[in-house]
Structures are given as C-alpha cells and as structure tokens.
C-alpha cells in the first residue's frame, strides 16, 4: 500500500526545542502506513481542537477479557490505516529491567504486526503497543508468548502489578518488591486475564516510604516497605556529612523531622526511635550515615483511586506491619477474602476504596476477618452515632 506522506504543519512545531519530541518519534516510524495516518489524525486534532477516537467493543485475544483496549478512529475514510487502532498492554518484567536482546525481540514483533509506536511504559506499568488492527491481535499475541511475554490487565480485573526497582538497586528496599510482584502476578494470572471483579484492582509495591511507584495514590492495595526496629546509624559518617559542610544537620535534618524525635549536641546525633514515624527524610538526606532498620517488612494499605466516581482517595492502613516472607500466604488469603466480599457486594465500577466508604471500615474488617487497630485511623470517631450491635451484650452476658 502506498500512502502519501501526511502534511503536518501544526505538530511539526513540536519538533523544535530541547525536550525529546514525540512528533520526531512518530516520524521515525512514518514509513509504516498506520503511523503516517496517525500523524494525519493528530494534525487534524490540533486543527480541530478535539480528539478523533472512539472506544469500547469486543476486541481481545481469545480467552482473555483484558490486555487489549479497543480503539477506532471516527474519520475512518480519511484515515483508513488507523480505522482500528487498538492498544495492547504487555506485562513488563518487574522493575522494568531489560537486556538489549529482549528489547530488539519486542521491536521485531511490533514492527511486524503493528504501528511501531510504543509507550515505554503506560501508566499501568505495562509495555504499550499503540495501534493494532483487529486481525493482527492474535498473531501478535502468539509471537509475544513465543518470546516469553504475556498480556497485562485491563477492565474489571486485577491490573498488571508493578513495583520500584527495590533490592535490585536500592539500599532502602525493606522487602523484595520485584520478587513479590513477580510472585503475585504469576499466582493470579486468571484474575489478571479474566475480569471477574466489580471494577479494577491494582497492586503497587514500593520498597520504602518514599513510594517511588506512587502506590498510596494509585493502588487499590499499596504495599509500602517499612521497618520496626531502630534506624541504622553510622556516627562517623554522620560526622563526615557535618564536617564536610554537605549537610546543615540542625536545619536540614533535626529541624525537618516531623516528630522531632532527634537531636544534635554538636557531636552526636541522637534518635528517639520510639517516636520515629519512619518518614525517610533524615535517611534521604544522609544515605551514607543512616539506613532503615534491620527488622524489615511492609505496611499494607487499601483503597486508593483517582476521582471517578465518588472522589479521589489515598490508601489507608490495613496491616500496620507484615513480614513479606515468600510465598506471602497470609496476605494472599486476605486478598482473596477481600475479593470475595467486594465481588459479592460491590457495585459495578465501584473500587474497593469506595466500597469501604459505603459499608464502613469497621464492617469491612469484620467481614474479611481482621481486628481493628488504632494505626488504621488518624483519630477515633468524633460523632456519637454508633451502630451498637444488639446481640453483642447478650453474648457477653451468656459468657458471664
């Protein structure tokens, strides 16, 4: 098929400037007729100030309900090569580590079957193949599985879990984020590919409270590394930061501690670890001198989401400390309890965080078999409208 090169005077202006240009990226692959038409549609949108895509439909690979996002152009006659322009989500290797060989393999597959345009990576963490026609979905999938890759999640399923680089390249990793992420991804392949939930369910694993994958803001279940003993402290290294002038220890470290749990007497830094909330600030400032404790694990939080529908939520504490030892049996059992209860009573498009808002955290804990603890709330309730349960007193009387 011969296609005339699309004229794109508006978006051409985005080739200029010091920041890497996505228009240049599109043009690198413009010998592909799909990408050439994509340039045309985009130019059209810049002219019209409106998008030209439609969503929905029945597209996917056989047997899976997730991993392919149906997309169609609303100007198919004008841009026939992007009349179908579906997205494929390919489950990335944990931590986004690659070798040059495997990247070339991925490129080979995508140049053979699609537009040659990718996202490295999508917001879900997946490798994104942008622009596949319906008939090429199954052949692309077949080549992908042959190369050892599989699709990620989409729709009302477990979404592709993602994580920070953890122990691979970070001294602050309080658990093996990549090991955990790989483990649960394999464990719940069925939940990832065959949507059976009221709505999406995301896992994001961060190795420490710096939360480099933004799990507290985006994951239905946020797994954030933490510790429960004392911060490891190397006094000689602290002194070096101070004497070299690299750090103003009073202003930058002691003065910025949120619980004022540390003091500097001119020679020695003293940390009252009992009052420390493990925020990471002092460790971030002096990574050579301070480190998370040795008794490490994670805090498990539940319920983050963006605004749709009832407003945005951050995750809230579910398990204050969990040891994160593989194969993570207790955690997996708990997750299945949550899925069962939410699956049974959640409404369509109701994320687990909204579901908890609706039914109450106390009731939710009771149903999934967790005891309430004060770490779960900022403070106890202030309103006296308590739903006392009638049979509770009677039970106690019987026991007496």
């Amino acid at each position: 098929m011969t296609t005339n090169k699309r004229e794109t005077p508006l978006i051409d202006q985005l080739e200029k400037g010091p920041w890497p240009s996505f228009v240049k990226e599109l043009k690198k692959s413009a010998d592909n007729p799909m990408t050439n038409d994509l340039l045309g549609v985009l130019e059209r949108s810049y002219n019209d100030r409106i998008g030209h895509w439609k969503h929905g439909g029945l597209v996917g690979v056989m047997g899976y309900g997730g991993g392919v996002i149906g997309r169609y152009c609303d100007l198919p006659e004008e841009f026939p090569n992007v009349a179908h322009f579906h997205t494929m989500r390919i489950n990335h290797p944990a931590g986004w580590f690659y070798t040059s060989d495997v990247l070339r393999k991925i490129c080979d597959i995508w140049e053979k079957h699609g537009s040659g345009i990718t996202n490295m990576h999508g917001s879900t963490g997946d490798i994104i193949f942008l622009g596949c026609v319906t008939d090429e979905l199954e052949p692309t999938f077949s080549d992908l599985t042959e190369a050892g890759f599989d699709l990620g999640g989409s729709g009302s399923d477990m979404r592709t879990p993602s994580c920070c680089c953890g122990m691979a390249r970070c001294e602050w990793a309080c658990y093996d984020t990549m090991g955990f992420t790989y483990d649960i991804t394999q464990h719940w392949q069925d939940e990832l590919h065959r949507p059976a939930f009221p709505y999406k369910y995301k896992f994001k694993a961060s190795g420490c409270p710096n939360d480099c994958v933004a799990s507290i803001a985006r994951a239905d279940m946020s797994i954030i590394g933490t510790w429960r003993d004392d911060i490891q402290q190397d006094d000689a290294a602290v002194a070096e930061y101070v004497t070299s002038g690299a750090v103003d220890i009073v202003e930058d470290v002691v003065g910025r501690c949120p619980t004022q749990c540390m003091s500097w007497d001119g020679e020695k830094l003293t940390i009252n670890n009992r009052d420390c909330v493990r925020c990471m600030h002092c460790i971030n400032v002096m990574p050579k001198a301070l480190a998370p404790g040795k008794d490490r694990g994670a805090t498990i939080l539940l319920g983050a989401k963006a605004p749709i529908i009832g407003g945005a939520l951050l995750s809230s504490v579910l398990i204050p400390f969990y040891e994160m030892e593989p194969p993570y049996e207790d955690l997996k059992e708990l997750v299945e309890e949550i899925w069962d209860f939410w699956g049974e009573h959640g409404k369509n498009r109701e994320r687990v965080g909204e579901f908890i808002q609706r039914i109450g955290l106390g009731n939710f804990l009771e149903q999934i078999g967790l005891e309430p603890t004060p770490e779960m709330v900022v403070h106890p309730r202030t309103n006296p409208y308590i739903f006392f349960e009638l049979d509770e007193d009677e039970d106690e009387e019987e026991e007496d």
């Binding site: 990226e25 810049y46 040059s100 991925i106 995508w110 490295m120 599989d150 691979a168 001294e171």
Partner: protein, 362 residues
C-alpha cells in the same frame, strides 16, 4: 469442543526479571549500602561488597518509536553490556560499571536528542496519559502540552537547582489514568459542557439503566426523544466527570470550544517529612491553544519560579504552601481565587477553614 488450539500458550505471565539483570545487580541484590548523586542524571550505588553501579538517566518522550528503543539497545551494548531499565516516570536508565564511559554515553544521548538529568532536586519527566494521540475522552492533547512545558522547564531537568524535587503530571481527563492527583503540579484537562447525546444510537450501543445509574449527581434520566428510547441530562447538575461517556459511547463530552486545562498544585506521594497529599486547584481553566499551549506553559513556569524563589531547602511545593498558607500562595503566585476553588462535592465540608489561623490580611 474447545475453539482454542491446544498448543496455544496462555497465562504464562511476564518473563522473570532475573534474566534481565546485569551481573553486578545479581551479585549485590539486596546488599546495597548507600548511593550518591554526583551530578544531574547520574547516580552511583555502592554495595556492601564495594562494587559500584553507575546509573545514567535520560529523558524519553514516553511515546517511543521502536527505532528509538533499538537505539537505546545499541547504546546499552556499547556502554554497559546491553543492560538498561526504565523508570516509573518514562526515563531510560543505563546501568554502567565503568565510570570512565559515562561522559561518552551522555554525549551520545545528547546528540540523539535525549538529555540526561532528572535526579535530586530537579524536575524530572512528566508522567502523562495518551491525549489526542489515542484517547476517546481526552479534553486536550497530552504529549503536546508535556513537550511544550518541558521545553520551557528543561533547565530544571538538567540542573538540580530547586529547593526539592518537583513532580509534574498530566492527565487528559478526570479519569486520570496514572492518577496525577498527588503531584507537585498536576495538569488536568477538563470538559466544561454536558454530554451531547446521540439519541439514535443510544438504545443500540448503551444500556439505559446503567447509563442513568452511572451519574454521580443523578443528572441523567430516561427519556424518549424523537421516538427513540434514550436519556436526557439535567445540565445544571452535570459536573462534566464523563462517567456516563465511559459506560455509554453515545454521550460524548468532547467539545472543541470549551474543553481546556486546569492546574493543581501541592500534592505528593512520598512520606518524607509530611504525609502524602492531594494536589489542590490553582487555576480552574485555561483554553486549549495548540500546538504549544503558551498560556499553560506560562502559568506553570510562574508557579515553579515562585516556588523556587520562596521555598526552603527540602520543602516540596505542598509543604511550602502549607507553611505560608493558601491565601499567600494565591497572592505571591498572582493567581485569582474564585468560587471554583471551593469544593462542593463529597468531601467539601472538610476543606472549609474552621479556625482563625490564616495569614494576616493586607
């Protein structure tokens, strides 16, 4: 009776990450001691064994041609045994063991148009959504706004010259793929007109009860229009969330004239010092002005520069604003405060000031 070929592979999951790790990482996995950030875009991680791993971080435009991925693969072969990774913010990282190769790698990346930076107290890559390149509900383009903004903020990517890191994110509608709502600066495209209903298509492509119940404000009711089973929208009750459009393609909110961009500030996800926070509304609406959105670029540049000039070291945008108070933020940033800044949805009451703790007037 299975229609699936028996040799068809499914449910294999992603490849195990270990096969892609460089030898130095395999050897020192979980045994890193500390790291330093000797210059913008370069990190050195030191293991308990004394081994040193050098990371060179370069920006990519997220939307990448396979030709660029091949270029990165070639550079990885040339400089670091074929090993690289990507970050959660669309940067590529080359993993070197030979310190002497860093300068040459940075030079080659720069020559190819991929600048090195984005570490420490800088502005790193903007995480963003698809926009007009691929999304049905986009109220603006994503890649174009990001490109225009980063062209302007580029000096803050290649230098570590800010009080603390500034995380910027872009979402092309309220669905916020990638959850931008906890960013130092969130750029959020918004619709501002009620859905336009295709009454003819409605009954064919949408389930009317589901569409009606999708509306969080109850603004949609069933109706027969020109003989078609359809719905009607009480426009005064519509807050343009587009949840109806997600469940019913016959109700588009896209509007060439009235769609545009809002700007939110002061969010963070890190737990360092203060708790994670949502971004809060700074500017309710700036019209779309492609291809370079100069008004949006100007507004963001202003917020960054005001922050850089006034915040204390280590203070994130939201921490700075919490210290000086929102009235002073609007004053020093010279941004108008309007009724749109006051929340009127689910958690609205929590945001009213119920004390007299605010900066003095005048």
């Amino acid at each position: 009776m299975s229609a699936l070929a028996s040799n068809r592979k499914t449910d294999i999951g992603p490849p195990h990450y270990e096969q892609f790790l460089p030898p130095i990482i395999k050897k020192n996995y979980g045994k890193w001691k500390y790291h330093e950030n000797p210059r913008p875009g370069v990190l050195v991680h030191v293991a308990e064994s004394g081994d040193k791993l050098y990371t060179v971080r370069a920006a990519t435009p997220r939307l990448a041609s396979t030709k660029t991925i091949r270029l990165f693969a070639d550079l990885a072969d040339e400089f670091c045994g074929g090993h690289l990774r990507y970050t959660s913010r669309n940067n590529v990282e080359f993993l070197l063991t030979d310190e002497t190769k860093i300068d040459a790698l940075i030079e080659k990346l720069a020559a190819a148009g991929y600048p090195v930076g984005g570490t420490g107290a800088s502005i790193t890559n903007i995480v963003h959504t698809q926009g007009w390149i691929h999304c049905h509900s986009a109220a603006s383009d994503a890649s174009g706004v990001v490109k225009a903004v980063m062209d302007e903020l580029y000096p803050h990517f290649v230098n570590m010259d800010l009080p603390a890191k500034v995380r910027i994110a872009f979402a092309c509608c309220l669905n916020m793929c990638g959850a931008v709502h906890c960013s130092d600066i969130a750029i959020l495209a918004v619709h501002r007109r009620a859905p336009k209903i295709d009454h003819q298509a409605m009954a064919r492509v949408c389930e009317i009860p589901t569409t009606v119940s999708s509306c969080p404000t109850g603004a949609i009711r069933p109706a027969t229009v020109d003989g078609h089973q359809s719905v009607e929208v009480i426009e005064e009750q519509c807050m343009f969330c587009a949840n109806c459009y997600t469940v019913c393609p016959a109700m588009t909110l896209n509007d060439a004239e009235y769609d545009g961009i809002s700007i939110w500030v002061g969010g963070k996800v890190s737990q360092a010092r203060s708790e994670p926070k949502f971004s809060k509304l700074a500017i309710p609406y700036i019209p779309n002005n492609p291809p370079r959105w100069p008004e949006v670029v100007e507004a963001i540049k202003n917020i960054v520069e005001v922050y850089a000039a006034n915040a204390r070291k280590y203070e994130r945008m939201g921490e700075w604003i919490d210290r000086i108070g929102w009235p002073r933020f609007f004053e020093v940033a010279d941004i108008e405060f309007t009724k749109y800044h006051i929340d009127d949805f689910t958690h609205a009451g929590e945001t009213f000031r119920r004390s007299v703790h605010f900066p003095r007037i005048g």
